[in-house]
């Protein structure tokens, strides 16, 4: 019975049915199913399946966006119940934000959804984030990884400044840095001294997992 419920949630997330996902998660909680199981076997299984379909050209960005929306709705219902049961399950903290002057958050939203599904505790600073806010958050939260996003070839140049500042303040030790966004590339990532470049949301999640595993 519980398997059927998890499967239904998973399918709703994969198919991007946001309202249905919310209702199904609520119903599963009302039925007394463990929040962590709903998360892993329902919501996360659904977004993971969407990612797999995306990788094999069976899903395209519109499908993944709708899946991510459904994932978000499911998480909103689940999150209050997960606070306690998830303790000790995190793969580490991941601070993410789009650099100052840049308001594009599509890619970041997808990355946040997938990182959360992979078990990271994501601290999302949003868009148009000043350098000092990145630095202060890193000082406060000591994340395993920080992800810097940019959409414009002018704003992406700030990534180098942020990385330089982190090095200057001695905050780079034990901290992995990822960069991503439309104008970025592996070459750019190497040039600014990042540890990894996220080509797309799925790639960013996989690289983040690799970064925390090698620590």
């Amino acid at each position: 019975m519980s398997n059927e419920k998890y499967q239904a949630i998973s399918t709703a997330v994969t198919e991007g049915e946001d309202i249905q996902t919310g209702n199904l998660v609520k119903a599963a909680l009302d039925a007394g199913l463990p929040p962590l199981e709903i998360l892993q076997q329902g919501v996360v299984a659904g977004i993971t399946k969407a990612g797999e379909l995306w990788k094999t050209n069976q899903y395209f960005l519109p499908d993944v966006i709708l899946s991510a929306d459904a994932f978000k709705v499911g998480m909103e219902v689940l999150e209050p119940q997960l606070k306690n049961s998830q303790a000790g399950q995190s793969r580490g903290k991941y601070v993410i934000g789009v650099v100052e002057g840049d308001m594009h958050d599509l890619g970041k939203s997808l990355v946040v959804a997938l990182l959360t599904s992979a078990g990271f505790e994501v601290i999302d600073l949003g868009i148009d984030v000043p350098k000092d806010k990145f630095i202060d958050t890193i000082k406060t939260h000591h994340p395993a990884v920080v992800g810097l996003g940019a959409y414009m070839s002018t704003t992406m140049l700030q990534m180098k400044e942020i990385i330089t500042e982190l090095e200057k303040q001695g905050l780079r030790k034990g901290l992995k840095i990822m960069v991503g966004g439309v104008p970025t590339s592996q070459e750019f990532s190497d040039e600014v001294g990042a540890d990894a470049w996220g080509k797309d949301a799925l790639d960013a999640m996989q690289k983040a997992l690799q970064l925390v595993e090698v620590k």
């Binding site: 308001m103 594009h104 599509l106 148009d128 070839s153 002018t154 104008p183 070459e187 750019f188 797309d200």
Partner: protein, 413 residues
């Protein structure tokens, strides 16, 4: 004997037209690219002047693109923002980058906003600048992309409400999506086109990068973007007597993951793209450096009208040209010309040049096309060595140019 078509004096424009009309040309044309941030950086002019002053923006583009030696000029600012900004959308302005829409505060949150927003007032914000930009381009740099530039309907919706919401509407709320397209076409874009038309700008293009693949699938483009572009084009033609080509770059194959490249999907994208822009196959913003150009050649030779090859408008990826060595740039162009240019029908450009692209790379690309792309194309292109380009630094070169005064003056605080 039939009369020869009258060719324009400008040799760059003649090359472009020659390719489009399947006429012999002396070499592969290299068209001016979208390069607003890069031109601003080369010309060292402040963003807060450059993106507000049509004359400065046009002159900077003309000067920088002439310095490089492009065959035609492409000049446009942050054209995806103009309509949203004029309707009251919140913007972020910066000292060294183009204005950008504040997506934290979207212009359209729900259907009720459409009534509240009403019709775009063409005297507001930078719409007059956009109109002036079109006029200046027609006067100073006539060419394939001279004229007005507007933001196409789906891209407008993405700017006004965010891509996920716009997408959600077309996938899940079709009635609302129709309302949105109706608003975009008739309340936001058409008044801008009318302002252009009233000022003598009788042709305009509407870039639509948000409708590129995989942002939208060919099926979604056929369902929403193609009919919308046709509606807008028809209305502009019937009521304003002007040409408005919406949907430029819609269906451009922009898959980033090389392992996912799929010939059938590529062909479908190009076929869909030709329903909007039948003049050429548009392969532009994606990872063109990794494409199998034999696929593109096969498509062009099997999809042209009257048995002729369909002209190809091919862009060097902006990140590729920024991140590659001059040797890599030459090697790419050698391969492209070898496969795609022998039977004509090839137009080359660069897709949105990043601000920090080395000028050496761009000069190298131009030199490579000028030397390798000369007709008849050499049998063995590998035997032609492209020597590093020699060029004056921009500021030194600029001193003798008609744009010198306006650019040097713009640098003053």
């Amino acid at each position: 004997m039939s009369a020869q078509p009258e060719m324009p004096v400008d040799p760059g424009l003649a090359r472009f037209l020659g390719v489009m009309m399947h006429q012999p040309v002396d070499r592969v044309p290299f068209l001016g690219p979208q390069s607003h941030d890069h031109c601003m950086t080369v010309a060292k002019v402040p963003a807060r002047k450059y993106y507000w002053d049509a004359e400065l923006l046009v002159d900077v583009h003309i000067a920088v693109q002439r310095w490089y030696g492009f065959d035609t000029v492409m000049a446009a600012g942050d054209i995806y923002n103009f309509e949203v900004e004029a309707l009251g959308g919140k913007m972020i302005y910066s000292d060294n980058a183009m204005p950008t829409v504040d997506t934290n505060n979207p212009l359209i949150k729900s259907s009720a906003d459409l009534d509240r927003l009403g019709t775009l007032d063409p005297s507001k914000e930078r719409i007059p600048m956009g109109v002036k930009l079109g006029k200046l381009l027609l006067q100073k740099a006539p060419g394939p992309f001279a004229g007005g530039v507007f933001c196409s309907p789906f891209s407008f919706l993405c700017q006004a409400m965010g891509y996920p919401k716009a997408l959600h509407a077309i996938k899940r709320e079709k009635v609302y999506a129709q309302e949105l397209f109706d608003f975009a076409e008739n309340q936001a874009i058409f008044p801008y086109l009318k302002a252009m038309s009233d000022n003598g700008v009788k042709n305009a293009i509407g870039p639509d990068a948000w409708s590129a693949f995989p942002n939208l699938t060919p099926e979604l483009i056929e369902e929403w973007v193609v009919p919308s572009a046709r509606r807008l084009g028809e209305r502009a033609k019937n009521e304003l007597g002007m040409t408005a080509g919406a949907g430029l770059a819609a269906s451009d194959y922009c898959e980033e993951d090389v392992s996912k490249f799929d010939k059938a999907i590529m062909f479908k994208c190009w076929e869909t793209g030709m329903k909007i822009n039948p003049a050429f196959v548009f392969g532009f913003m994606g990872r063109t450096q990794d494409w199998d150009m034999n696929w593109l050649q096969e498509f062009a030779t099997t999809h042209g009208a009257n048995g002729l090859k369909q002209p190809l408008y091919l862009g060097i990826n902006g990140r590729f040209i920024r991140d590659s060595s001059p040797e890599q740039v030459v090697s790419l162009l050698r391969r492209w010309i070898d496969i795609l240019a022998r039977d004509g029908g090839l137009l080359i450009s660069i897709a949105n040049v990043p601000s920090d692209t080395s000028s050496l790379s761009i000069h190298t690309a131009l030199k490579a096309v000028h030397e390798l792309g000369r007709y008849p194309i050499a049998k063995d292109l590998s035997s032609i060595k492209v020597e590093p380009p020699q060029f004056k630094p921009f500021d030194e070169w600029l001193k003798d140019q008609p744009e010198a005064d306006i650019i040097f003056k713009a640098r003053e605080k």
